[in-house]
């Protein structure tokens, strides 16, 4: 091909790529909502000027290194640190004995939640996982601190440990904590926080194990609805399958490094979190000091995915060392340290018995899950898996049982679609298998089980089941099937060409898509600019900026006349939701809308006071407030100046009573600087908010080598009104690839004999690279507003994740049959050995292999 022709083709390809997210016009009738724009943080990012935690420096800054436990469970008998302390350049050693007592939590309604005695504290004398920090050293540079760590000797008393949840449930099995192995809640109306208790199953409970089926002993948590027994009796097909999902570290590319110093009794902490406003009280609680004495700076955060929702271990250690040394301390967390202290998604060992009608409708579902919790606070993955599965497939009857088991493996936390991913990834291959057995199309079997409208979920509470605000998943499934050319792909022959076999898969997916009740705050300045105060974390999703476009839209202000303030708790931020669980876009567009409506009302009142008439005779648009139908008016700048003269509610000297105390303090600090608008989101909502995705994938497997490629991928999203198409596309496909990682390679591996992790680095635990995904992935969104929220927007972070994983698994079983794998990820050697043997060759029940 000549060069000119090649150039033309490449230009066409580039142009096509650019227009991918412009194929559909989002935001009909809006000026800002649904339109692409350049976020104000992008220039700093692209030039390297954006400051992440480890980019901050302070005069006289020391460096800190951690000493990590080499054992999965042990008691520290004695620390020999004299040789280290004698080294030049060593400033201090911090041990668990230097930590403040764990603080109780005082909720906003005045309830005291007692600090848990099982909670993580940052440093410890009884490490409960390999890699848990025991002490920290501060020195003049990082190398000196690292050399000092090498000189410290610790006498340990090894304690019993467990890395596989089933091992601790066996009769006489070891306990991961000295006082138990499972998280349980007390029965009754007021169960209080969960407690660690001991649970052992009987030998008879383990009878199923030798058949490769998950044993199901006593489960502390259980619920059900409908008549499950009749559901199975009336089913045309009943499948009973065991499936294991992987532990996956969040592995944010920016490790959780932090720098801290103290000034005039206040601690200043520089780090990355997902949530700016809400991290402040978390740090205060960890340090057991008043939130008034914490200043928190987090301008740019290098990824979170649920692992940096608020404060934690990594912020407390440099803060306490800074206090001890009276100098700034930087703690740079290495990749290997990040693997230990950086959080991960808990694996599930799950079993489901599912009854299907001949059309594929789920008549009964019996779900049992064991969640590998790690050693610390109870994660909510097990209960959330049951609720999500009940919503997504609307079983006519269902029983859910769950056990949250502690192990001596690194701590877990929420990871994008916590519990949702595990539950969906366990049931989806069963639905794919059922469709093949019933000879029903894979899209059709999902369509018949799809939630619709105010779809119910979970068990009945006081006789009534909860329900969703809305669900348009059927429409998303239909649009996805059409755009993916599903019908053409499934009928295409031959499936096999030489050693290559093609398979197609589809999956449903959903997760919580928003909360309510938070505050917004903005100032119209005397020079006529609109300044939005954003307490959202800047973790890359751009919701920190995007949600305020809804406010600008209400006020009719061009985006060029708006500013957004974020990333620093001294900058007067409002009470904001945590940026996790896909809450933000929903919760904070509501707050932004409420605040803009407050500003509009104040502008109308000011105009009426100044120019006569009634407030409702004025309208706000084009940076002015003016008499409807023509007549007198004033600019926003003039109105802001007049607001300052009026004082009171107009310039922030008075604030609405229902605002959170954090917002009230920020309003007071901004008082007199212009027209100050602040409001709590008090809009009603009927139902719980969820977002939905239908995911489609095609794979090509080489049965000679077991290697496979993802040929095409499409995610079709029902996430309400689209706010910022490019950011949405980044989330829909980015979170899909996070899920794909669970299907194609990411996992933890432990040496069960020593409890030692052997998958500490990227090249061991294999997060997807750019070569693992198709070069041209596709996404689309319905853009149907949710009827229960003012702008109609829902969150999107979690919902695509499970679909990414399960669509790949289903495409693999379409290519290879149902007897290949019983766990994820599925790698080449599994395919090769199982395909040859004609049965799954992986041990289905062993954890961390």
């Amino acid at each position: 091909m000549d060069n000119a022709k090649l150039d033309h083709e490449k230009t066409v390809e580039t142009a096509k790529a650019k227009d991918k997210d412009n194929e559909r016009q989002y935001g009909a009738g809006y000026k800002l909502i649904g339109k692409n724009y350049q976020t104000p943080d992008l220039y700093a990012k692209v030039t390297g000027q954006a400051k992440y935690a480890e980019d901050f420096r302070a005069e006289g800054m020391l460096f800190c290194k951690l000493l990590l436990s080499p054992m999965p469970h042990a008691r520290v008998k004695r620390i020999h640190s004299d040789a280290a302390l004698a080294m030049p350049g060593i400033k201090a050693i911090l041990t668990a004995n230097d930590l403040p007592a764990p603080a109780d939590t005082l909720t906003d309604n005045g309830t005291v939640i007692k600090a848990s005695k099982w909670g993580e504290r940052g440093l410890t004398n009884e490490p409960v996982y390999q890699g848990e920090p025991i002490l920290a050293v501060a020195a003049i540079d990082e190398l000196t601190a690292a050399e000092a760590i090498e000189k410290i000797q610790i006498d340990f008393e090894p304690l019993p440990f467990v890395v596989d949840p089933l091992d601790t449930l066996r009769p006489g099995g070891p306990n991961p904590r000295t006082d138990g192995n499972v998280w349980t809640r007390r029965a009754g109306q007021n169960p209080g926080p969960p407690e660690v208790t001991e649970l052992k199953w009987t030998k008879a409970d383990f009878a199923d194990e030798k058949h490769g089926r998950l044993p199901m002993g006593k489960a502390p948590d259980e619920w059900s609805y409908g008549d499950v027994d009749s559901g199975f009796k009336n089913a045309a097909l009943v499948l009973d399958e065991t499936f294991v999902t992987p532990d996956t570290s969040h592995q944010t590319l920016e490790t959780r490094s932090a720098m801290a110093y103290w000034q005039n009794g206040k601690v200043y902490i520089y780090t990355g979190t997902q949530s700016t406003a809400q991290t402040l009280p978390a740090i205060a609680r960890w340090l057991n000091i008043s939130p008034d004495n914490v200043v928190f700076i987090s301008e740019y955060t290098g990824g979170g995915f649920g692992s940096k929702i608020t404060g934690g271990v990594s912020m407390i250690i440099p803060a306490l060392l800074a206090k001890k040394t009276n100098a700034p301390v930087m703690m740079r967390i290495s990749r290997e340290e990040e693997t230990f202290i950086g959080r991960a998604r808990p694996s599930f060992q799950g079993r489901m018995k599912v009854g299907f009608s001949k059309e594929g409708r789920i008549t009964a579902l019996d779900m049992f899950v064991i969640c590998d919790n790690g050693p610390y606070d109870a994660v909510g993955d097990a209960p959330s898996s049951g609720r999500i599965v009940s919503l997504l497939y609307q079983p006519q009857s269902m029983r859910w049982r769950g056990v949250t088991v502690l192990t001596n493996t690194p701590p877990r936390s929420a990871q994008s679609s916590p519990g949702g991913l595990q539950g969906i990834v366990i049931i989806e291959p069963i639905i794919a298998k059922a469709a093949r057995k019933l000879r029903v199309d894979q899209v059709a079997i999902r369509r018949v089980n799809c939630p619709e409208g105010k779809a119910p979920f979970g068990p009945a509470v006081q006789g009534k089941r909860q329900y969703a605000t809305s669900a348009f998943l059927k429409e998303a499934l239909d649009r996805g099937a059409e755009q993916f050319k599903w019908s053409e792909r499934v009928t295409r022959t031959p499936k096999r060409m030489g050693t290559k076999v093609r398979g197609v898969g589809v999956s449903l997916s959903c997760y919580v898509g928003g909360t309510i009740g938070f505050d917004g705050l903005l100032v119209i300045t005397p020079d006529g600019r609109v300044v939005f105060q954003s307490g959202i974390g800047n973790l890359g999703t751009e919701s920190v900026i995007d949600v305020h476009r809804a406010g600008a839209e209400v006020l009719g202000v061009p985006w060029e006349r708006c500013d957004v303030v974020w990333g620093n708790t001294t900058k007067n931020l409002p009470f904001t939701c945590v940026s996790g669980g896909s809450q933000t876009t929903h919760a904070m567009t509501r707050a932004a809308y409420a605040t803009a409506m407050d500003a509009k009302k104040k502008l109308q009142e000011i105009a009426a006071k100044k120019l006569g008439g009634k407030p409702e005779q004025y309208e706000v648009a084009n940076e002015r407030v003016f008499r409807k139908g023509g007549g007198p008016g004033m600019t926003l700048a003039q109105a802001a100046k007049y607001a300052i003269r009026l004082g009171g509610v107009y310039d922030g000297h008075e604030a609405p009573a229902d605002l959170h105390k954090l917002t009230k303090a920020s309003v007071a600090a901004l008082a007199g600087q212009g027209l100050v608008a602040a409001a709590k989101d008090n809009y009603p909502r009927d139902g719980s908010t969820f977002s939905y995705v239908a995911s489609f994938a095609e794979v090509e497997v080489d049965v000679e080598t077991g290697k496979y490629y993802i040929v095409d991928f499409l995610a079709s999203a029902d996430v309400g009104t689209v706010i910022h198409p490019r950011a949405l596309g980044g989330q829909v496909l980015g979170r899909s690839v996070l899920g794909i990682g669970h299907a194609i390679g990411q996992k933890w591996v432990f040496d069960p004999h020593y409890g030692e992790m052997v998958s500490k680095r990227f090249h061991h635990n294999k997060p997807p690279t750019i070569l693992d995904v198709p070069v041209d992935m596709q996404w689309t969104a319905l853009d149907i507003p949710d009827p229960e929220t003012p702008v109609g927007a829902r969150g999107v972070g979690e919902p695509p994740v499970a679909g990414g994983c399960a669509s790949i698994l289903n495409a693999l079983s379409d290519a290879l049959g149902d007897e290949i794998f019983q766990r994820a990820p599925v790698n080449a050697d599994t395919i090769l050995t199982s395909f040859e043997a004609g049965r799954p060759t992986q041990r289905p029940l062993t954890a961390h292999i």
Binding site: D7, N36, T47, G48, Y300, G302, G303, R761
Partner: protein
């Protein structure tokens, strides 16, 4: 400092913190810089080995008047990347790769920058932004 790496010199002695450390050990590509126009992981290059050679970091791409490099402009044009911690590395790898292949297909460019990891997994949008950057660069070289 003993065994001082280029990333350490850049970040802690020269204050050029645009070069990021994501893994310390040549796994993630966040610290990619150009040495005599070739992309290298700065975490795995000893500083003394670059004596007399030309090192370009993310801070050195834009012109003194603030005009962005065409590849940086590609990111602006497409709102590429999410958290952007990996972005300096990806941009340096792309700039280096385009010196050998100024007119790549998406597949070729993906191969060219496959030594860089993005944990937000925003690969599709990154590739679109880098393709736009390549096009911007071709245009600027013409004009």
């Amino acid at each position: 400092m003993k065994q001082e790496t280029l990333s350490s010199t850049l970040r802690y002695k020269l204050g050029l913190t645009g070069t990021k450390l994501g893994c310390d050990r040549a796994e993630c590509g966040s610290c990619t810089v150009l040495i005599d126009d070739v992309p290298y992981y700065a975490c795995s290059v000893l500083t003394h080995t670059v004596r007399g050679r030309k090192v370009v970091t993310i801070e050195g791409l834009a012109k003194a008047d603030g005009t962005l490099h065409p590849v940086q402009q590609g990111v602006i044009d497409e709102q590429g990347f999410q958290c952007a911690f990996c972005m300096p590395g990806f941009i340096m790898s792309t700039v280096g790769y385009l010196k050998t292949n100024p007119n790549p297909t998406r597949q070729e460019l993906a191969q060219g920058i496959s030594g860089n990891l993005c944990r937000c997994q925003d690969y599709d949008k990154i590739l679109t932004a880098m393709m736009r950057g390549a096009e911007n660069l071709r245009r600027s070289n013409l004009g």
